[in-house]
Each structure stands twice: as structure tokens, then as C-alpha cells.
Subunit: 319 residues, 2 copies
């Protein structure tokens, strides 16, 4: 039996008050209500099973208390972790997150942004967006995560310094020929960090393999890299590192004995690879908190906030 929804009117009638009073009770403001009236209203709400209609509220108020979140790929553990952290952070502040994936396609990304705007989200969180959305006139705050865009506020890990940290650690183990597995164009920072470390140590540049940010990509890249006989490999993402490990195992290469490995990202699964991966951990929690904070507080600054990374030593580097 599809009983139609209980509205504020029903509650008002049942309690013998006006809808205004119901509103005052539900929102605990903006007017005070006599305790006795209040009790009657609360009773009515319970008796009728009234649930406020957030849609109507949003229309009236002009805000939905909803954020739109777009990740390039919901299957990437890093993005899943970020999404989770953002959801938690937003929920704690009374916001709800509309999460969706752009499937790595710029067109899909634009379409999803439009869809979210139509739904009157109060703000947009874009993880590693491919394009600058401000070309379209977006009237809500936007924040880019893990990618710096010219016209919007952004938050990202210290890619360059982090990569440098990781590679320096590899160098400290005595490696002098350190390969790099890196994504395609548009992600120069980790590569620069790797180069920084090499130069500072007076080392020649090791081999570089470009691949997609995926296990498969890392797997293929490692097979290429192996021909140059590096003694260590730094992967620009977890997923790639996992592919690297598989390629190494298949080739009968001992890790870290023959080749040491370290990676950027540090999602939980890197603790359970074999051997466990030494990683430069992205500050996921902080990125999420900071992104949500900026969105809610309407921070206008388009200056990128860079959050430090953390080096986590495990066995894959030789430690």
C-alpha cells in the first residue's frame, strides 16, 4: 500500500498548529516555540512518521547541502580512498556527496559536471580533472584535487618533493641506476622529483617508461625497463608498482635483492603486496579535509595548497 508521503501540512493539522510552527520546531528556529506546543508537534511528527522533504527545502533555501564529486576512475583504490575520506568529512558537516566517475573521458567529465550543476550541488570536487571547468560558467565553488588548474582552488600532495624523497631513499640503499615508471603527459611533477634526486646525487638519468596509471601499464612498463637493467624502480603510482612487481616476479627477478621498488600513493593494498611496498604516502585524509573545508568556507584563493607526503619504509626497497 503506497501511502503518500506525510507533509508538513499533515503534521500541522494533526498537532493543531500552523505549518510555521512545525518549521520552527524542526529547524529549532528561527522563532522560539512554547515547550508544550513543541511537544505536541514532536508527537505529531512521530505519530505520522513525518520526514522533511529536502527537495522543497533546497528549492526554498537555494542550497542543497550536497557536493558533487567526480573521479577519473572509481576502480582506482587511491580515488576510492579519497572518496571515502571526502564522504566522511562532508557527512560530519551535514553534507552529502554525489559521487560519480568520469571513466577517464573528458567528454564524460563535462557531461557529469553539467548533470551535477543541474542538480544544484553546493560545490564541486574534481579529482584529477582533465579540463578546466570554469570555461563553462559554473556558479558554485569548485575545487580541484591532485591537479592544479589556473582558475580554481586546488589541493594536492607534494608530488615533486615526495617523489624526490622516495628516490633519495632508494639512492641511500646504494642504487645508482634507478628506473622510473610514470604516467603519460600532463604529470610532470613526480618525474621532476625523480630527476631532482638523481641530480643531487650526481647520478646519470635512469631509464624512463611511460604507461597508463594502471596495473597493466606498470606491468608492461617494467618489462621494457628490465632491458636497461636498472637496480631499482620508482613507480609514480601504486597501481603501476603492483604491475611492476608482477613483471619482476615473472622474470624471476628478486625484489629487493636484484631490483628494489618504491611507489607513490601508498594506498592500503601496498602493505600486502609481496614484498610489501615502500611508498610515498599521499596525505589522503588531509587532502579530503582541506578540500571540503575550502568548499564549505567558500575560500576563493586559486592558490594551490600543497600537502606534504610521508615516506613509509617497507621491504621492497631493501629496508
Amino acid at each position: 500500500m503506497p501511502k503518500d508521503p506525510v507533509t508538513r501540512n499533515d503534521v500541522a493539522e494533526y498537532a493543531g498548529v500552523s505549518t510555521a510552527v512545525v518549521s520552527y520546531v524542526v529547524n529549532e528556529g528561527p522563532r522560539k516555540v512554547a515547550p508544550e506546543t513543541r511537544a505536541r508537534v514532536l508527537d505529531a511528527i512521530r505519530a505520522l512518521g513525518y520526514r522533511p522533504n529536502a527537495t522543497a527545502r533546497a528549492l526554498r533555501m537555494g542550497t542543497t547541502r550536497t557536493f558533487g564529486l567526480i573521479t577519473p576512475d572509481g576502480g582506482n583504490p587511491l580515488f576510492a580512498e579519497l572518496a571515502k575520506a571526502i564522504d566522511r568529512e562532508a557527512a560530519a558537516r551535514g553534507y552529502v556527496v554525489l559521487q560519480t566517475s568520469a571513466d577517464g573521458d573528458p567528454l564524460t567529465e563535462r557531461a557529469k559536471i553539467a548533470e551535477l550543476l543541474t542538480r544544484q550541488v553546493s560545490g564541486l570536487l574534481l579529482v584529477a580533472p582533465t579540463a578546466d571547468p570554469s570555461l563553462d560558467d559554473v556558479e558554485v565553488p569548485v575545487i580541484a584535487i591532485n591537479r592544479v588548474l589556473p582558475t580554481v582552488s586546488s589541493v594536492r600532495p607534494a608530488y615533486r618533493e615526495g617523489a624526490r624523497l622516495g628516490v633519495e631513499h632508494l639512492i641511500s640503499h646504494g642504487h645508482r641506476r634507478i628506473g622510473l615508471v610514470i604516467g603519460g603527459a600532463g604529470h610532470p611533477e613526480r618525474e621532476l622529483g625523480w630527476r631532482d634526486a638523481l641530480e643531487a646525487a650526481g647520478l646519470a638519468e635512469g631509464p624512463v617508461a611511460r604507461a597508463t596509471f594502471s596495473r597493466e601499464g606498470g606491468y608492461r612498463a617494467a618489462q621494457t625497463l628490465l632491458e636497461s637493467q636498472p637496480t631499482a624502480i620508482f613507480a609514480s603510482s601504486d597501481l603501476q608498482a603492483i604491475g611492476v612487481l608482477r613483471a619482476l616476479h615473472e622474470a624471476g627477478v628478486d625484489v629487493p635483492g636484484d631490483v628494489a621498488v618504491a611507489a607513490f600513493d601508498g594506498t592500503p593494498e601496498t602493505e600486502y603486496t609481496w614484498p610489501p611496498l615502500t611508498v610515498v604516502r599521499q596525505p589522503v585524509e588531509q587532502l579530503a579535509r582541506e578540500a571540503v573545508r575550502r568548499l564549505i568556507e567558500g575560500e576563493e584563493s586559486t592558490e594551490a595548497l600543497t600537502v606534504p607526503t610521508e615516506l613509509i619504509l617497507r621491504r621492497s626497497c631493501g629496508c
Copy 2:
């Protein structure tokens, strides 16, 4: 400059028509509009950058074309994969998914359900819910995924048959002492499947270790199991299997030489463990498609739909 949003009124005025006509044009119905008028309206829309307000539409129509999705843990790759598939499926039908995580806490789960209902979602997808939501009066369709609830429609993989399939395969490799890593109470099916296979082969029951559905849980469980010297281990989830592998490696046990391993779930990361895992693959795409279909078509049946699993042979079983 925060220019206020362009409304249907603005468009109507600009185009010199009534708001009704604008509506007809935007929705391509329910009345026909003269081509010339139509063109004027479309021009106005473009010129003004008009974007329909889905909130107002939802209020008027009584439907938001939004689904609420609650998973127990956004960090679990299986749920991430499911969420992704559901998002894709829903998007293809013009729906958007409000995704959130219950963090494995029944209270949080209830709170999130209430929040989503407040927001007038058109349907609720609950992944492995802990409680039956129909206790509260929910007026939208609900579907449970991967858990059968008495009063709501549900969709889930063939847990029992799948587990049996996996264990039978282990038996076909000649194993006679097959341990089981399984979740706590409330998930009897995979255990039954394991037992089915053992009984059918006339084997004594192998050791059982109960653990949380996590890498950590699998790791600990395997350490316990090892004391009973099984020659094979079947894990009831990927995450646990990954923990099992780590425990085995640390103990210097060769996989699959000394102990073979197989797991239930089959998320992408199992292809890149070492050795790659033989898995009983959950039919994620079908589960998602079927769940969304039922929700949209308002299928009332509370009969559980069971979708077959697929055995994927890789190296961890000895193949």
C-alpha cells in the same frame, strides 16, 4: 561577480514566450511547439546560459531520478567495483547515484538511509546491509545486494555454488586437507559450499578460521590455519586471500607448491597478486544491472535473484 542563476522566466521573457513553452521545448513535450518558436527558445537558452533547476523539477514531479547507494565500506575493492558498475548502469538510464558508506556500523547505516530518504531518492541500493530497513516505513523501492533480506527484493551471487566450485577445483588438484578462511557470523553460504565440496569428495572437514573481511583478517587467519598444515586454503573474499598470501610468503611457504590458494570475489587486483589468484568471480556487472533494473522497473518480488559465478583459473591453485 556572482550573477544569479538564470531561470525559466528569464528565458521566456527573452524569447518572448511563456514559461510553458520553454518547458515544452526543454522536455520535448508534452505539447508540440512550432519549429520557429522552438528555435527562438533554444537561442534564448544558449544566450542566457540557462540550466534547468532539477530541484524545482523534483519538487514538482515528485521524483529526483536519484538513487541512494550504501556500501559497508568504500575501501573494499569489491564494493568499489560494484559502485562503479551501478553508477554506470544508472547513468545510462538517466539516474544519478548518491553513494555513501556505512563504515560497517549499523547505526551509521540507519542514519544514512534516513538522510537519503529525506533527500527524496527514487530508490535505495543497499550493499550487504546489516539490518532490514523496512522496519522503518520506507516509501521507495529498496534492493539489497549480496544479502538476502526477508522483506525486500535482493540480488546476490551464487555464494554456495560458487564456493563449492572453487573448492572442487582445489580437490581436483589432489588436495585433501583444505582450510577455509571465512567471515564472522551471518555469512553461512560460502562455508556451506566449501562443506558441500568436501562431503561430495568424501573428505574430512579441513580447518576453519573466522576473521573479518579484510587483508588483516586473512593474514591472521592464515597464521592460525598454518598450524593445522592444510595443503590448500579457500578464502571467502579477495581481501582475506591477499592477507593469506602475505602470511604464507612470510612463513616461507611456497604457493602453490606447498599450499594452494583460491578465493571468492575476483576483483581486478587478484590478477596481480603473487602468484595470481585463482578466484570465483562475482558477477559484478550483472548484479549491478539487475539491481538497477529492478529498482527502475519497480519489480516488487521479494524473491532473491541468484546470479551464477565464474571460476577463473590462475596460478595460485597450481594450474
